[in-house]
Assembly symmetry: C2
Homo-oligomer: 373 residues x 2
């Protein structure tokens, strides 16, 4: 087995005064694999399964970088065990941050990545490579299915490419899932018929249990071409299944993912969103953009974008979908900064304008003008 086939994880450790970073590295290598003291592990198992500490270097006072590699037999080829290995039990130990992963090609192949990717989403929405896509969210929770469908119609009439459910829309009595999906898709189709456009509606599949199969069937039946899920809530293995089984576009929403982003502990956003979400099959990854309602730095956003689009085995690139307070007035700025292989998710600042069709059309026109598309 060549060393290229091992999964190699880089961590940053925060050490207490006097703590030995080498001992902590060995502890991670054991805890994430055999979970036993070395003397209880048969030597042949230990030699193969225990993580191998490959590098250890100081970063700053009491901060160390360590690289540990794992045999493919420990990892297997399934998402849940990958997550166990990546940050299962060590999530309960202090000051461990996952900052980098080297992926074995067979594992990437087994998990599959985006099925549509950037090119596939462009084809779905018939948007040329010269401009970014525009996305908005249906909200607020509390509107009826008919009211939400009316919003869909206006956004589609204005030329928004992708109209998606807010992640708070589940199966509440105010707008039950079945009725909402049918009416919203119908409204978008009607607008497309009037404009000759190709807007799409992505409902949220909220249930992570096997019931997601029913929800998917309903969405497909209604004519939807894509869906949105929150990977931390429905589970990343469900996202993998959805990408592999549905043939539809899969958008990932960041709900609850912020728990991974504590200072010095967790998984860097560019790894969680930029690699894991892509590897399990997200075609578009929504994240909270710098300068909006949330706290990501510009550097973090740039790194997420770069990872979603970079060469990674045979996987297709995925679209970054910055949102969470992107203002229409700043849209040209973000296009310039992030490039055209981006989907801008703009909600509040369209709603604030009242006339949604007109606000959407103005935004679409601005973006076309900026991109000369």
């Amino acid at each position: 087995m060549t060393s290229g086939e091992r999964l190699r994880i880089t961590y940053e450790l925060g050490c207490a005064p006097g703590e030995d970073p080498a001992a902590r590295a060995r502890d991670i290598a054991l805890e994430q694999t055999v979970e036993l003291p070395p003397e209880c592990v048969p030597p042949d198992v230990a030699a193969r399964m225990v993580g191998r500490v490959e590098a250890l270097a100081p970063l700053a006072e009491r901060r160390w970088r360590v690289a540990i590699s794992y045999d493919p037999a420990t990892v297997g080829s399934e998402v849940p065990q990958l997550l166990n290995l990546l940050f299962g039990n060590i999530s309960m130990k202090p000051a461990i941050l996952v900052t980098g992963i080297e992926w074995p090609a067979p594992l990437l192949g087994a998990l599959g990545g985006p099925r549509l990717g950037i090119a596939g989403i462009r084809a779905l929405c018939r948007v040329s490579e010269r401009r970014p896509l525009l996305c908005t969210a249906l909200k607020p929770v509390g509107l009826s299915a008919q009211q939400l469908a009316e919003l869909c119609y206006r956004f589609a009439l204005g030329g928004i490419d992708i109209i998606k459910d807010d992640h708070n829309l589940a199966d509440q009595p105010t707008a039950p899932f079945r009725e909402r999906v049918a009416r919203c898709q119908e409204a978008v189709s009607q607008a497309n018929g009037e404009t000759g456009g190709h807007s799409v509606y992505f409902p949220q599949l909220a249930r992570g249990s096997p019931a997601i199969q029913e929800d998917l069937a309903l969405a497909r039946e209604a004519g939807c071409r894509g869906v949105m899920v929150s990977p931390v809530i429905v589970g990343l293995d469900t996202v993998r299944w959805l990408a592999a089984a549905s043939g539809m576009a899969v958008f990932a929403h960041p709900s609850m993912s912020g728990v991974f982003f504590q200072p010095g502990h967790g998984i860097l956003p560019e790894i969680l969103y930029g690699e894991l979400y892509r590897i399990v099959g997200s075609d578009g990854v929504i994240y909270t953009n710098a300068g909006g309602r949330f706290d990501f730095s510009q550097a973090t956003c740039d790194a997420i974008n770069a990872n979603l689009r970079k060469p990674l085995g045979s996987l297709r690139p995925a679209f970054p979908v910055p949102g969470g307070g992107v203002d229409v007035a700043r849209a040209p700025h973000w296009v310039e900064r992030y490039g055209v292989d981006t989907i801008l998710l703009i909600g509040g600042s369209l709603y604030a304008q009242g006339d949604l069709t007109r606000a959407s059309r103005r935004l679409v026109d601005t973006i076309r003008r900026v991109c000369d598309a």
Copy 2:
């Protein structure tokens, strides 16, 4: 609608110098519901759906406690939306800790809680109310299915009540799921036949996608009476489904849950384990005990135990399962501290003794003696 029917969440906020805690409370109430500035929300929707800030009180310098209540219509009756509401988008905002929840009875009823609970698990293992149960884990990953079954046999012969997979056992080629489950269950049954005992084997169902249905069917076919899952990895809605659909005992493993336990941000362990895991249907909740390989304080462990057993609507109580470095020598101490309605999960210190049957029997005898059972 009476106020008793609202879901009421208590948060602790860390405020930056000069930051207005009332503004942050209102921001949470909006972000977790309508996700729009107030002026964009129709008044009737705002009145009903936006969270209501009910209390705000200083705790310490720049720390505040705030209580916000939500209309049942916002929450719906499904787990994913409950998680969105509880800690979805605010997971990406700084310094918010969920410290308490008041549950509407209809929501508890809809989610169902443990189907076996403490009494049901006791009946399954035929263990009287006079003593705690004993549990151990099969490890390390890397052993063959036959080797793992041999461990099962020895533990069951020694009288361990519950023998569960290590959470790192997935479907690796070293011990494929199907073969492992069949052989391990067979080994436990054989030991039971020899001793007249009632040990059970709980395999881990690792896949969170709809494939968990196949894994569950295999486990049932093999004769297993319970299963283990990691709720953060498979998704909490999958746990709810498992409890409702399987009729089997459900044990929750804490893998990856540590991401919720950052200082001042996340969900308190006694809420996540003691309430959420129980409410979605866990009969036993494994956590990392104080004084072991992990960092929980004694007070946190006591609070988890108390919440798992306390009256909560019509839900059955669930077993606390402290583990993660519980030493056989300290077992009597933990029984005394935690009481008999506890399952002690002991792994490493049994393995360290070499002769597993003898080590198990000695532990069982000690516990019986201590409990006069």
